[in-house]
Symmetry: C2
Subunit: 429 residues, 2 copies
Amino acid sequence: MQKIGIGLAGLGTVGTGVYRSLMQNNLLLTERVGLELEIRRIAVRNLSAPRSVQPAPGILSDRWETVVDDPNVGIVVELIGGIDLPFALFQRALKAGKPVITGNKALLAEKGAQIFELAADVNVPVFFEAAVAGGIPIIKSIREGFIGNHLQAIHAILNGTSNYILSRMTEAGIDFPEALQEAQANGYAEADPTLDINGWDAAHKAIILASLAYGFWVDSRLVHVEGIEKVSAADIRFAQDLGYRIKLVATIRADSNSSIEVRVNPTLVPQGHVLAPVNGVFNALMVRGDIVGDTLFYGRGAGQDPTASAVISDLAQAAIWIDSGGKAFGFTPHGLYGKCLPIDDLVSGFYLRLTVDDRPGVLAQVAGILGTHDIGISSVIQPETHDATAVPLVLMIHNAPFGRMRAALEEIKRLACVKGPAILLWILS
Amino acid sequence: MQKIGIGLAGLGTVGTGVYRSLMQNNLLLTERVGLELEIRRIAVRNLSAPRSVQPAPGILSDRWETVVDDPNVGIVVELIGGIDLPFALFQRALKAGKPVITGNKALLAEKGAQIFELAADVNVPVFFEAAVAGGIPIIKSIREGFIGNHLQAIHAILNGTSNYILSRMTEAGIDFPEALQEAQANGYAEADPTLDINGWDAAHKAIILASLAYGFWVDSRLVHVEGIEKVSAADIRFAQDLGYRIKLVATIRADSNSSIEVRVNPTLVPQGHVLAPVNGVFNALMVRGDIVGDTLFYGRGAGQDPTASAVISDLAQAAIWIDSGGKAFGFTPHGLYGKCLPIDDLVSGFYLRLTVDDRPGVLAQVAGILGTHDIGISSVIQPETHDATAVPLVLMIHNAPFGRMRAALEEIKRLACVKGPAILLWILS
């Protein structure tokens, strides 16, 4: 049976998971693939660091180039993290004719266009199932399973940390800082949770999904990204009263002119929607195709083992490609979709929470400004409060372009009767 | 660009969907695949039957052999239905080196072992995404996405008709005959719903999933199949009181000795389980891998368009195989799992509803028999009733081998105090 050599660049959490899972299920994998997969080289940062797996002596190296260049290595797995260094690795490996597997969503989001152009030039495939939604085979499903579909929309919960925090805020009625602390204490948020909290981890994944779905590599500068820091327990309560849950949702969709929309926002999800019951660290993706209709994928979106499962699936596919040759794949650019819509053109319903003076006429002033911008209100909540000077005013806004909503909000904020920050959230439709 | 010719055998509901969807999204598919797919031959039963699509004159034939034999046809799509005729088609096409795509679950369940043996002999792939769960890419996910996993369990709702009927019985509190009539009136059940109702449609799909997961073709005679006819509104109410929904669930799993279990039963699903909220005609599959953990797939499991989406995905993969060659795939047999467990060895919790005399001592007699078979009771419901002669007695039974449960039940049925049928349902664990 043919043996294919694997080079691992990186032996951190995911690398260790890949190593261990490959050892554990080696026999099964060999039977299924019909080829033997063998880890022959591993690059680590520090040769003498303690580790929970013990690779054979001599296969460790502290230079990733050694891994890529080794003639016994046929497939390179990039698990280093960062941008510049893995980008250099991709270039070197692809030019050497070696397929590369990665879970590095930041790298693909930033350098995907260049990586896939090079991959097409040299006809060597790139695999990245591990970059989005852990062990859920969503890349394969979108690229191959739904290949016959125009993908009309993807609504997805792609960041487990922020979903855990919002779930805890909902269950326990606590505010963001407390829920974040709890997530950190329970190991569901890192010491530096910036990319999880500010929406960019989800946005990197959304860029990858959108690019696969629509055939051009989406420029991250055209993606509208908001984090969950601004969501308060009060917003979650108001949303519940109105029949919604608040989730960090990536929205990816095409309009009838083949322009596309890519954004990540804390979003009001109707309680009957399939994404509404997705709680804790789970990920879920609702994919709507013009032929297949609505489908849902659900599972753990991160973690050592689910991510390792995705890497091993890619290893099998890379090995089969080496064995049989053929056209390289990964990302196929085409010109059937046009461009990303500017943020101001995106149409949505909105939830708006203001803090206003507790005086007659306030609602009339706010509604008046919305009216001059041709923006309709679908419902209003103005709860009773004991603080006579400032009260919350919650408005549910009918579908309107974000640009118009933003302009109206600027005017509303300048009203003398409006105090403190205005919270504007998108509504899933 | 290379063109690849398709032959459709059958232009019924799914065939028409494939034809129409291929026309609709042809440009997109060509861009993504990098090959042009063209329908060149279609076999129909009756050349002069009216149809909603109008293929070019001359491509229709009333002999499927014409489609298979046409040298311009590279891929054959079998959408005829039945067993013998499509089996003959498979043999002829595979021997001619042409990949075959099918959605025929009954055929695969009965003839899978022979079909895949032939496919391996001639090194030509067979594709069958459309055979299970419509447009949900579950075949691809299990075969490729989870290739690195021992699949510990699959719990799946695989028949939309029976799920619709049970959902309506639950929502409306109606009994089976009325819910079936309603399903037929709404087009969710066929005039002859036998295979949907008696569990065999789901069982055919379960056999395919189990065979893929465990590497040997499962003999349909070893599958334990029960239908939903015996479930009554009363059982659904009792189950709800106990915290469960009743669903027709396919259970596929391996024990620690690599023996496997394949069964389809009306099953009590705990209300917090991911399958519990799956209502109406939808399908859902919970797949548990030793590395990936739990994942869920959800969508429409049948219907013209979702099924067409699956066929087109297979067409793309078949075309790429023709273009690049390589090892054929479909089903890879191996010897890592042993055999199907006999039904009597399957261990589960059970729900037992008896109709008994309303007299003291009845529970003691029933519990006594269970005790002599070493079967434990976890809870008992004996609701008050106005019919003094016969009352329901519901018992929740701890995990026990089915064989022991069955033996105990035979004795219980012989008790003088037990009247009418005993309803035994499995509990999902």
